[in-house]
């Protein structure tokens, strides 16, 4: 009886999780602008390699800004990336923060004119236990 109850709860919770995830993905598609496609822009001849939907949503309504796309090793779960967001939230020069788990990127939006210090970014990410290995900056 208890095993059956456990299986039922397992099935219900997994189904619920899948539904929530599908709703979230659907919401992403609804908000995805097909104009501009910022994610397709090249920085120093290289692609940004970001989740296109997430990135375009991130830059929506941003102007006169520069986007730092930071490559991070070890960022394999949402729970372990929380500290990264918290660390950058304390930096007043950052306008917007996001984490792209699927591509292992941290997205940081700065105002134009702010000098982006990669060493400082590396320190903040290392304080969370991960390693920043590279960065591309895109001006919009």
């Amino acid at each position: 009886m208890k095993k059956i109850l456990f299986l039922l709860i397992t099935f219900s919770l997994t189904t619920l999780a899948n539904n929530l995830n599908e709703e979230h993905q659907h919401s992403h598609h609804q908000h995805h602008s097909h104009e501009g496609h910022m994610h397709e822009m090249l920085v120093d001849g290289k692609k940004l390699e970001v989740d296109p939907i997430r990135f375009d949503r991130f830059v929506e309504n941003l102007s006169n800004a520069q986007i730092a796309v930071v490559d991070v090793n070890g960022m394999v779960c949402d729970f372990c990336a929380r500290g990264i967001e918290k660390a950058f939230q304390k930096d007043s020069s950052i306008k917007r923060i996001d984490v792209d788990l699927s591509k292992g990127k941290v997205l940081l939006a700065y105002s134009n004119g702010v000098e982006i210090d990669f060493n400082d970014i590396k320190k903040k990410i290392l304080a969370n236990g991960q390693n920043a290995t590279g960065m591309k900056v895109l001006k919009i």
Binding site: I9, V76, G129
Partner: protein, 200 residues
């Protein structure tokens, strides 16, 4: 005697089911554990991502006894890659019941966004009886959620305890969203156990 052994089995289970024993630099974590034998609340603070210090308050329902552990966990080794993270931790605790009541051990994990492998080895020294405990865990994420989504893991855990000398294998479900995490484990010997975590 048998019930005491079973109780110790529960205590071990509560210590091993925890996840993420160290937070980010300056981060705090509050955990709660409950089953039919005991309730436990564990708070730890991480001055850096390499170690955490904390206190665990244990309410023993069976013996109607309260005691605490001062706990210290240290990250011995971490390997970050683009798609995975591997960790090896040293863990220890000193009981309020006296200097001859403590535990120490290592536990480790390797995970990608899809797969999880973990193990733990622990030695418990107590006035009652010394014993050791081992566990192995494998898990899979049925879907890959994005940052901010509800994340789900389905895990199978195997434990070997030197007191009972029995191997116990049971399923564990883990859910987390934002700073909240919940784990539910079921075993026909231990019945339900629940583990809650909030990180701040």
């Amino acid at each position: 005697m048998g019930i005491k052994i079973l109780f110790l089995f529960f205590v071990i289970l509560s210590n091993n089911i925890e996840a993420r024993p160290i937070s980010y630099s300056g981060g705090s974590t509050l955990m709660g554990f409950s089953d039919n034998m005991m309730d436990s609340i564990y708070y730890h603070y991480s001055p850096t991502y390499k170690y955490s210090i904390g206190i665990e308050s244990v309410q023993n329902k069976y013996f109607n006894e309260n005691y605490s552990y001062i706990r210290f966990t240290y990250l011995l080794n971490r390997k970050n890659t683009q798609t995975s993270q591997r960790n090896l931790y040293f863990q220890s605790g000193l009981s309020s019941k006296g200097l001859d009541n403590y535990f120490y051990g290592v536990h480790g994990d390797w995970e990608t966004r899809r797969w999880f492998l973990g193990f733990g080895l622990k030695e418990v020294e107590s006035a009652y009886r010394n014993y050791s405990d081992k566990y192995y865990q494998v898990g899979v994420a049925p879907y890959l959620g994005e940052y901010g989504d509800l994340h789900t893991w389905i895990l199978i855990k195997t434990k070997v305890n030197s007191l009972t000398n029995k191997t116990s294998t049971y399923p564990v479900l883990k859910f987390f969203k934002g700073n909240f995490l919940i784990e539910l484990g079921y075993n026909n010997k231990t019945e339900w156990d629940t583990h809650l975590m909030y990180r701040f």
